[in-house]
């Protein structure tokens, strides 16, 4: 029995090298199935690189990543894993519907899925309007909608809530929770620690290393701070006070 059968993602001894140094080092990490796991950390800490490694688009120096029981990036996973990049990967010179219908056809999803994701993500759906005329946040939502089309078992979402108004942000976190209740696994990155409270589990990444792997409540108990941002600061300063 491999760990992959119990966890959505299992990482062992992972290193990603860039410019002669390890930009991500993860000796061991598992992400449970059916939950929303937040990948938190400041920009530049390696969140995107780690996500890319999990999706299998990142060249890695060493290590092993199992996703849903198969090696990361292997062909059978492509229909089961959905990846939303940080930059909205949609065609600026097509309308919202044309973008989504295209991705739906590639994924083998019907037009009713397009209607469903447009409603779920509240994608602006103004007739004939090209994606390039949308705001940054609106484009990000089109990109998110495209990932949801194929109903993947694992969703890897790189900063899906950045630049959105607070109301919409809450709605998206509620949507993520609903998807997890429906059996999907979500790995969601954010540089904003105030979003940590929406996650079932937290991973705090700093300088390419996972400092914290805990639930929000566990972290609160462990540090004695109710505010998660304070809790993170406590963990980081405690670690940096002790020379390695």
């Amino acid at each position: 029995m491999t760990e992959g059968q119990f966890s959505a993602i299992a990482i062992e001894d992972l290193a990603v090298r860039r410019g002669g140094r390890d930009v991500v080092r993860v000796p061991r990490l598992t992400v449970p199935r059916g939950r929303v796991t937040g990948l938190m950390g400041p920009s530049g800490c390696g969140k995107t690189t780690l996500m890319r490694a999990i999706v299998g688009v990142q060249r890695i120096a060493r290590g092993r990543i199992d996703v849903l029981g198969a090696p990361a990036g292997s062909a059978p996973l492509r229909a089961r894993v959905g990846y939303m990049t940080q930059a909205p990967s949609v065609y600026a010179d097509l309308t919202v519907r044309e973008n989504l219908r295209f991705y739906a056809r590639v994924l083998g999803a019907g037009d009713e899925r397009v209607d469903a994701v447009v409603a779920a993500v509240k994608v602006p759906d103004r007739k004939g309007q090209l994606v390039r005329d949308l705001s940054g946040g609106e484009r990000a939502r089109v990109s998110l909608a495209a990932v949801l089309l194929g109903e993947p078992e694992l969703l890897v979402l790189d900063e899906p809530t950045v630049g959105l108004d607070p109301l919409l942000r809450i709605e998206l976190w509620n949507l993520f929770a609903r998807l997890a209740r429906g059996g999907a696994t979500l790995l969601v990155s954010s540089h904003s620690l105030e979003e940590a409270r929406h996650c079932d589990d937290l991973l705090l990444l700093r300088d390419g290393e996972v400092l914290v792997e805990d639930s929000p409540d566990g972290l609160r108990r462990r540090t004695g701070h109710d505010n998660l941002e304070d809790a993170f600061v406590a963990v980081v300063s405690e670690r940096e006070a002790v020379p390695a």
Partner: protein, 245 residues
């Protein structure tokens, strides 16, 4: 490879073009205007027009599809949509064929319009069939697209991609025999021309214009062209990497 996905990609590429009507008009009208220009440049020497006309009619699609192809694929690479596609359950062949079908379809329209203007309106006279010239033009458009797709991997911006036209296509145009017969060039250049795909594209058109049929030599040209398209697509496929640094 999955036909559903291949055609979805073709339809998407054409839809992107449709949202850019000015580019479509330029792609279709400019070659015809250039042939009109050529006709009156050679006003006093109609036999020269008949000699170089088919070459230009057949090579325009190569040049324009090289540009459109390289920039469309470059945008796909830089916008992240290519990376997203490669994380989805599709084959690289779907992407290549999807682009190929879309551009061949568009090139067919382009070649038809310029052929009607050249042969119908301007009275361009070829010994061979005008249909054959049109068919070669579509083949050349595919070669242009395949080369553009391949070279887009080496461009970091649209500025660089556009520069590949004078850097990569223009020398081939100078060496292909259109301006000066190859046997009058410096021997080294003649040898170099023999290694460039555009030479074969031009030579096959030239056979049709002068001899009226492809003949053995022209048939060989077409085989070399088909090989060049396949090679450029294979090399292009190698630049579509699922895993990057």
């Amino acid at each position: 490879m999955t036909p559903r996905i291949t055609f979805a990609i073709s339809a998407r590429v054409l839809r992107q073009l449709r949202h850019d009507p000015r580019t479509v008009v330029l792609l279709i009208v400019v070659p015809s205007l250039l042939v009109v220009l050529l006709r009156y440049v050679f006003d006093g020497r109609p036999q020269t027009f008949d000699l170089v006309g088919p070459g230009l009619v057949g090579l325009f699609p190569l040049i324009s599809m090289f540009l459109v192809g390289s920039i469309t694929v470059l945008r796909e690479r830089t916008s992240g949509t290519l990376e997203r596609l490669l994380t989805m359950p599709l084959g690289k062949l779907d992407i290549l064929l999807g682009y190929g079908i879309a551009f061949a379809g568009f090139a067919a329209i382009q070649a038809t319009v310029v052929s009607v203007v050249a042969f119908g309106v301007l009275g361009l006279d070829v010994a061979g069939s005008a249909w054959a010239v049109g068919a070669l033009a579509i083949g050349n458009a595919l070669l242009g697209m395949a080369l553009g797709l391949l070279l887009s991997a080496f461009a970091a911006s649209e500025f660089q991609a556009v520069q590949f036209m004078p850097a990569f296509v223009l020398p081939q145009l100078l060496l292909c025999g259109l301006f000066v017969a190859r046997d009058q060039m410096a021997p080294a250049l003649d040898l170099l021309a023999g290694a460039l795909p555009l030479t074969y594209a031009y030579d096959s058109l030239h056979r049709l214009a002068v001899d009226g049929t492809l003949g053995a030599r022209g048939t060989l040209d077409v085989v070399v062209l088909a090989g060049a398209i396949a090679l450029a697509l294979a090399l292009g496929a190698a630049t579509l990497r699922r895993r990057t640094a």
